[in-house]
């Protein structure tokens, strides 16, 4: 019988190492060749395929699946990567159940879509395993572009610019690149250091320099970038988090879910990472699910995700909700936190029930208290301080259809920019599209 540490409070080593390792294996293991062929056979090669339309990066899905089916996964990978240079990571983290696979005609026909995400992973993994890079740089243009943020948007933009012959300098606040791919995604979706391997592979095209430890307002300034480079792309994501605005929020063992997820991803030994015996997560998005599920997998005895609206309003997909429930996480909807209990350290969280009345969320009088040793807040992230030159729209940097900001020569994309869902795949699309517009602008063709 495996050892389980049921100590109250927040403690490391709740499960033995083999159990933890098992808990954090690949959520969707890679296909072997036979599985890939069987899965690829199910694709109907639809005309003007709905899956392709649903993909934010417009990957030609029927074509790449046919390329797998005909024994050329490397060609399939090129089809994918041509549209989405982070196709390997997107294959792992895309909510395919609400994108390509949701509209697959075989979902319509049989309630079981072609497994597009896993096929995409098969193709991109096959290519990356060959240690080749399928794209070469065009002749140098002599132009240089600054990219702020080495996350999905920045890397996508940088790669496309480098491919088109521009020199790119990427400024990254952290000591590692990858952005949320490296720091913000559940570990079981990106195993074996995939984010860094993909980053290294992406950079192998050449022409991209990353300068770590620099961010806007800390080492670099937008106006300086504008004068030093021919164009600037901002893809620094959302660096600030929303607060509950509740008394006692500064108690021990109350923290932001994004920090827990980042710590977990960066931990060299998961059994050394402390987790509460009873964990409460507040929020209804992917971050809440990732934090709650991973707390459970680390050995928390009780994990409860509490969301203030109804389940149908949760930003996390139904697949993610089911995953959480399958892992033993409890979901409570229609409850909002009204107080934290405990002297110094947290002992519980008190919630009031909510109800939607005439389209408005109303907090009811009835309350309940969940015992808790640890509380994670996952109620959304927001843009950090930005230079005044940038107009905002809904709390994000305002961009037009070509990802241009209000500042001259400055483009933006990804989570920090307005428009689109906050998804890796959307960030990749926006970074790529910005690069194409930057290229057209710099080369005088726009």
């Amino acid at each position: 019988m495996a050892h389980i540490n049921r100590e109250n409070g927040v403690a490391a080593g709740r499960l033995d190492p083999t159990q933890v390792a098992d808990n954090f294996t690949d959520l969707h293991p890679e296909y072997d060749g036979h599985e890939a062929l069987v899965a690829a056979d199910r694709c109907y090669f639809c005309h003007d395929a709905p899956c392709m339309t649903a993909c934010p990066t417009s990957i030609d899905i029927p074509l790449f699946i046919r390329q797998i089916a005909t024994g050329t996964p490397e060609a399939a990978a090129k089809t994918i990567l041509n549209q989405n240079i982070l196709g390997g990571m997107c294959a792992r983290v895309c909510p395919t159940e609400t994108l390509c696979e949701e509209v697959c005609v075989r979902e319509t026909a049989e309630g079981k879509p072609v497994e597009i995400g896993r096929l995409q992973r098969y193709a991109t993994d096959t290519l990356m395993a060959s240690n080749t890079h399928p794209f070469a740089r065009a002749d140098k243009t002599g132009k240089s572009v600054a990219v702020v943020g080495a996350g999905p948007a920045g890397l996508s933009c940088a790669h496309r610019l480098a491919m088109l012959g521009h020199d790119v300098v990427v400024f990254e606040a952290r000591a590692k690149g990858g952005g949320l791919n490296e720091f913000g995604i559940a570990a079981y979706k990106s195993t074996n250091d995939f984010a860094q391997r993909e980053l290294d592979w992406l950079l192998s095209i050449g022409g991209i320099e990353i300068r770590y430890g620099q961010s806007l307002g800390d080492g670099i300034a937008l106006d300086a970038l504008q004068s030093d480079f021919d164009a600037v792309f901002l893809g620094m994501g959302l660096s600030a988090v929303n607060a509950l605005g509740m008394d006692g929020e500064d108690k021990d063992n109350i923290s932001d879910a994004v920090d827990f997820i980042a710590d977990l991803r960066q931990a060299s030994d998961l059994t050394a990472l402390p987790v509460g015996r009873r964990v409460v997560v507040i929020g209804g998005g992917m971050t809440a699910i990732d934090a709650g599920v991973q707390a459970k997998l680390l050995g928390a005895e009780d994990v409860t995700i509490v969301y203030r609206r109804g389940q149908e309003a949760m930003a996390a997909s139904s697949f993610e909700q089911e995953l959480a429930q399958q892992k033993g996480v409890t979901l409570i909807c229609n409850a909002t936190p009204v107080g934290v209990e405990g002297n110094g350290s947290l002992t519980g969280v008190t919630f009031a029930y909510t109800e939607t009345q005439n389209g408005k969320l109303v907090t009811l009088d009835e309350t309940f208290t969940l015992p808790a040793d640890q509380l994670f807040k996952a109620i959304g992230q927001k843009l950090g301080d930005t230079p005044d030159a940038l107009s905002l729209d809904g709390g994000k940097i305002k961009v037009d259809d070509a990802q241009r900001t209000s500042a001259g020569g400055v483009w933006a994309g990804g989570d920090c920019a307005s428009g689109g869902d906050d998804l890796t795949v959307t960030a990749v699309a926006e970074g790529r599209d910005a690069a194409m517009d930057i290229h057209a602008t710099l080369m005088g063709a726009s």
Partner: protein
């Protein structure tokens, strides 16, 4: 419950499903397993002359064509006739027939084109108690290079001659197995009939190269860097076989000649189709080689259920039932008008009908913004391509336009009377309608 008992040339078997002369029937061991599984009869793997047996290659003997999910659609083989001594085969056949008297056991034979050779071997084989003979004039590989198999089957005079020799050598039924590697199946069929054959069986395998090894630049199956044409069989050849069977069944000269139908029979439905086009029974090989002998159980239950549903009480009631409806193109009714109809309820919106029609046919299907596909009756020529490419069976169908109703494409009402090319005004050789 329909009676599946088959009485082909007076040879009784509990059902019309025989295993064709091929690797599955090469040995007592296999044949016993086949009979235990329920096969009605077997045609034993082709016997050759006394003396040192033929040898087979020691590399791969089969090549294949696959469909979706690696379903085997076509198989190609370069195996020769039995490579076991004649005496061993005869002993085994004797034992098997004795133990399974209710099953058909047919001896397939191939010896050089000399009267003595046939006259000598036929009576000897008859001693096994076999129910009849099948003369292998079909194999297109290997043995044909030695003047046997399809080398005989491609020369009607030889077919007639050898058939005559065999008929003179035995009172048992003689079936002539025909090769499809000819231009007109009627000539060899007529020759078999003229030689006194009791029946023909067809088709044998089709000359083929199934694939090329692009690394070694050699046909597959590849034997030490070289390949040769082999005999093609399996579901892919069924349409070719059905046509040849139908031609023999409907041609006045050969009509009535019993036929054992062979070629891609994989399900009960395939068998029913061969029977409907005039075959008295069917022979199966590739389906058994793909799925094992147990497949016959589905063939038996399926044929039985279908016959019950149709009210057919015996196999004889099915045989040849579709033959009167096999005609020449020139007699097809040109006044029969149909239009494609797409069931919106069944449509899964893959758009393949649209792509097929728009790119390769008559631009008769429209596609809306929200992927609703509709047929434009004024463009639809009823080619049926949309029906054929649609992945959902029954989603697209062809609706017959009633006489008197407008054909939107021609702008004319559909005529009530039958009219064909022989009387069509565009036909320079048209004869006036009488």
């Amino acid at each position: 419950m329909a009676d599946l008992t088959s009485n082909f040339l007076g040879i009784s078997s509990p059902n019309p499903f025989w295993l064709a002369s091929a690797p599955p029937t090469d040995k007592e061991y296999n044949v016993r397993r086949a009979f235990e599984a329920g096969w009605g009869g077997v045609v034993w793997k082709t016997l050759g002359s006394e003396g040192p047996p033929v040898v087979n290659v020691n590399g791969p003997r089969y090549g294949a064509i696959h469909g979706a999910d690696r379903r085997l659609l076509g198989l190609n083989n370069i195996e020769l006739i039995t490579d076991r001594p004649l005496s061993v085969n005869l002993e085994e056949m004797t034992r098997v027939k004795k133990d399974y008297p209710d099953r058909a056991l047919i001896a397939s034979v191939m010896v050089p084109c000399e009267e003595e050779a046939w006259k000598e071997i036929i009576p000897r084989i008859a001693e096994t108690g076999c129910d009849g003979f099948e003369l292998n004039f079909g194999c297109p590989h290997g043995m044909a290079e030695r003047g046997m198999g399809s080398a005989v089957g491609q020369v009607p005079e030889y077919i007639e001659m050898v058939t005559r020799w065999c008929k003179a050598a035995t009172d048992l039924p003689v079936i002539v197995k025909l090769t499809p590697n000819i231009t007109n199946i009627l000539h060899p069929a007529q020759a078999a009939k003229d030689g006194g054959a009791d029946a023909v069986s067809l088709i044998n395998t089709i000359n083929s190269i199934t694939s090329v090894n692009l690394d070694a630049m050699s046909p597959e199956p590849m034997i030490d860097g070289k390949g040769t044409h082999g005999g093609y069989c399996g579901p892919a050849v069924k349409p070719i076989a059905l046509n040849m069977v139908a031609e023999i069944a409907r041609n006045p000269g050969t009509h009535g000649l019993p036929i054992s139908g062979i070629g891609g029979v994989t399900t009960w439905r395939d068998a029913a189709e061969f029977l409907a086009l005039g075959a008295g029974n069917v022979q199966v090989c590739t389906a058994a080689m793909t799925y094992g002998f147990k497949v016959v159980q589905e063939m038996i239950s399926g044929l039985s259920q279908w016959m019950d549903e149709q009210g057919y009480s015996s196999i004889d009631e099915v045989i040849g039932r579709a033959v009167p409806n096999v005609t020449d193109w020139q007699y097809l009714n040109l006044n029969h008008v149909t239009k494609a109809r797409i069931s919106q309820e069944d449509c899964i919106k893959c758009g393949r009908c649209f792509a097929a029609c728009e790119d390769t046919s008559h631009q008769a299907i429209t596609m809306s913004e929200d992927r609703v596909f509709d047929v434009k009756d004024d463009e639809c020529v009823a080619c049926n391509l949309c029906v054929n490419v649609c992945p959902v069976e029954g989603c697209i169908t062809m609706e017959t336009i009633a006489p008197g109703a407008m054909d939107e494409r021609t702008g004319k009402p559909v005529a009530d009377e039958y009219a064909n090319w022989t009387t069509h005004p565009n036909n320079p050789s048209a004869t006036a309608a009488e």
